[in-house]
């Protein structure tokens, strides 16, 4: 059994690596200090108000979950589609998914007013609530990912001492296809329900549309694998070790490119039908207000369309670029920024539009304004630090690139 662990060179702690860990440690400490203050004083420290009750943290939640979608997409490739050669990247994808989901849950615990009651959705069910369903799906999916991932962790040398742990983990490993299948179903459900969280709210004109869940899941399916691909390339650039066959990564990039095309297609028609042809009075008013008073238009066309769609589609699909890892990483970074732009635009800008229920003409709620406060940035920095720290330690110490065959080569070339 002991031979299954990878042999590693002892010279892991290079100065550069230590400096990087130190930097990440500082980020995490900033996050912890901010979180501590929020727990002591309450959400009053944030810049959220009754007008804009959701802000940066919800944006992080949504983005982190969308970016974790590589896990279920690539699992579906392997276990549903039967493309076994992608197996070598599934572990990495699941690990990134795990980081994304834990980041989201950590931020969510910060965001709710009563973190001590985080368990209430399990005890008190409101089956009509999309948010309830999302909470359930996310926690179930996180459990599935942990189970899926357990064999990887127990393959560490550390567990040589307790062979029974490894044994249990390997029984679970045999169930991996079943778990992955379950995970794919649960993911499909909640990735789209996150869009429905907005899409069902009738009182908010620019949210209320049936395309919302579809656009959420499409963007997640497109960008999640791209992020996994980029992480694989970046790890390779830093360590100089080719862990995953480049052809696989190129294929993932191509897939992402096509998925982004589909997403762009639906997005453009959504834009046309909702804003151009639709002309519902409330939607028109809301959009004209957003155009006049906020950077919504810029955020949409520049952030979501150009950065988030046009550039990555070109880099992922045009043959001149899509064989070069650097362009592919750039494309993935752009796509990630696009998703974050999109989630911010939906969450925060959607809330800027004042509610119109008054029968008169004078009284209107003021249009919302919101810019994240210090503690909000602090927690955000901490979350980013946490994610990068996990990623660094994971890619360094876990057998993430679990290609069954070239195991003997994996430890070489430091």
């Amino acid at each position: 059994m002991a031979t299954t662990t990878l042999a590693r060179k002892p010279s892991v702690w290079t100065p550069g690596f230590l400096a990087w860990l130190g930097l990440l440690g500082v980020l995490v400490v900033i996050g912890l200090v901010s979180a501590f203050w929020v727990f002591v004083r309450g959400l009053v420290l944030t810049n959220m108000t009754d007008i804009v009750p959701w802000g940066l943290w919800i944006t992080i939640d949504l983005s982190a979950i969308a970016l974790g979608a590589g896990a279920f997409t690539l699992s579906a490739f392997v276990y549903l589609g039967g493309y076994k050669k992608y197996h070598s990247i599934v572990r990495l994808a699941v690990f990134i998914g795990f980081i994304g989901y834990t980041s989201a849950l950590l931020t969510l615990v910060m965001d709710i007013g009563r973190p001590d009651r985080f368990w209430h959705p399990w005890a008190y069910w409101n089956v009509h609530s999309v948010l309830w369903e999302i909470t359930w799906c996310i926690t179930i999916y996180l459990t599935i990912m942990i189970l899926e991932f357990l064999p990887v962790v127990t393959d560490l040398k550390f567990f040589d001492r307790w062979p029974w742990v490894r044994k249990v983990a390997h029984i679970l490993h045999k169930a991996a296809p079943v778990l992955a299948l379950l995970g794919v179903m649960v993911s499909l459900l909640h990735q789209s329900s996150l869009g429905a969280t907005y899409g069902i709210v009738k009182s908010r004109p620019i949210w209320f549309k049936p395309s919302m869940p579809i656009m959420f899941i499409l963007s997640a399916v497109a960008v999640g694998p791209a992020l996994t691909m980029a992480v694989a390339f970046v790890t390779e650039m830093i360590t100089g070790k080719r862990r995953v066959d480049h052809q696989i990564l190129f294929n993932i990039a191509r897939f992402s490119g096509f998925a982004l095309l589909v997403y762009a297609y639906i997005k453009i028609w959504d834009l046309a039908s909702v804003t151009y042809y639709g002309r519902m009075p409330a939607v028109n008013e809301a959009l004209s207000l957003l155009y006049r008073q906020t950077a919504y238009n810029f955020g949409f066309w520049f952030g979501e369309i150009i950065i988030g769609l046009v550039i990555p589609i070109i880099l992922f699909l045009v043959p001149r670029f899509n064989r070069n890892p650097k362009y592919l990483v750039l494309g993935a970074v752009c796509a990630v920024i696009g998703v974050i732009f999109n989630r911010w635009d939906i969450t925060v800008t959607g809330l800027y539009v004042p509610l119109e229920y008054s029968p008169g003409t004078q009284y209107q709620l003021p249009a919302g304004t919101y810019f994240p406060g210090l503690v909000e940035w602090g927690v955000a920095i901490g979350i980013v630090g946490y994610a990068l720290l996990m990623l660094t330690l994971g890619t360094r110490f876990l057998p993430l690139f679990g290609d069954p065959k070239p195991r003997s080569q994996a430890g070489q070339g430091d």
Binding site: L43, V44, K85, G113, R117, Y124, V130, G360
Partner: protein, 278 residues
């Protein structure tokens, strides 16, 4: 790598299957006993809290009562006494008013005053979106909150089309309510930091009043504070399901409107528009 598709083979022995299945069944049973069963740490919670249904409704079965309100915008003089009485009686913090009064103009340019409590929608978005059933619809038509259950996610606030919900962003200061005791004495506990709150139609008065054989809307002690304090009787409260109640007659005799009816929320608050129109 030449073969594109390879079936992933699922190798499960009977033993593995039994282990996995046993673990699954075991965890379901454990979850059940731990959440709602014998070992539940929530066992000390009231059953009505666990079920999230309107057990607090006393002898009132569904359909007997439907509490509603009429606000006569033609009578309202904009004194905002209702806002003060509400804030004193329910100990509402400044800036978090459950009941707002604002000046408005109609299309002819004339001023009128508009006020808005919670509208107690019968198809309330806040009830639907709450992930923990902290907000629920009682069988007497009231939309009520369980502050002990709210997790403070603020989805209800986002979903309410009428801006009727307020979040406790911080712990309240001891003496932040200037309306006490001039405008009333608090009848309910302060809400803690981190939960959402809203108008209840003074549910404490309705429930207590019914216990004592009073009629909400007619007897002072069983009627919401905002209705009692109004100097021009612009607000009428009562049972919409009773055709002989005062409120039913007012609705019958006047043209009324409800806010944003196109949203399908079916509010329990009716407005009588100003005579010169809106």
């Amino acid at each position: 790598m030449s073969k594109k598709k390879t079936k992933v083979k699922l190798e499960l022995t009977r033993r593995d299957f039994l282990v996995v299945a046993g673990a699954a069944v075991g965890s379901v049973v454990a979850a059940e006993t731990l959440t709602t069963g014998l070992l539940s740490p929530f066992a000390n919670l009231k059953q009505q809290q666990v079920e999230g249904v309107a057990e607090a409704v006393h002898e009132s079965g569904a359909g007997v009562f439907h509490w509603g309100m009429v606000i006569n915008l033609d009578k309202c003089i904009g004194c905002a006494y209702c806002q003060r009485a509400c804030s004193a009686t329910n100990d509402v913090a400044e800036g978090m008013e459950w009941n707002i009064v604002v000046e408005e103009k109609n299309t002819a340019g004339n001023t009128f005053y508009f006020s808005r409590p919670c509208l107690h929608c019968q198809h309330a978005p806040c009830v639907e979106v709450c992930p923990v059933k902290a907000t629920y619809l009682r069988s007497d038509g009231l939309v009520v909150m369980d502050y002990d259950r709210c997790i403070g996610c603020r989805y209800c606030q986002v979903a309410c089309p009428y801006d009727a919900r307020r979040f406790n962003w911080e712990r309240r200061h001891v003496d932040d309510n200037a309306w006490i005791p001039t405008w009333g004495i608090p009848e309910v506990d302060r809400r803690p930091r981190g939960v959402v709150e809203k108008c209840t139609f003074c549910i404490q008065r309705i429930d207590k009043g019914l216990e004592n054989g009073l009629v909400p809307g007619e007897d002072y002690d069983a009627t919401p504070a905002c209705v009692n304090v109004c100097p021009v009787e612009a607000r009428v409260f009562g049972n919409l399901n009773d055709p002989n109640s005062k409120i039913s007659k007012v609705i019958e005799e006047n043209a009324t409107l409800r806010l944003s009816e196109d949203l399908g929320t079916n509010p329990s608050v009716y407005y009588i528009p100003p005579k010169e129109g809106l």
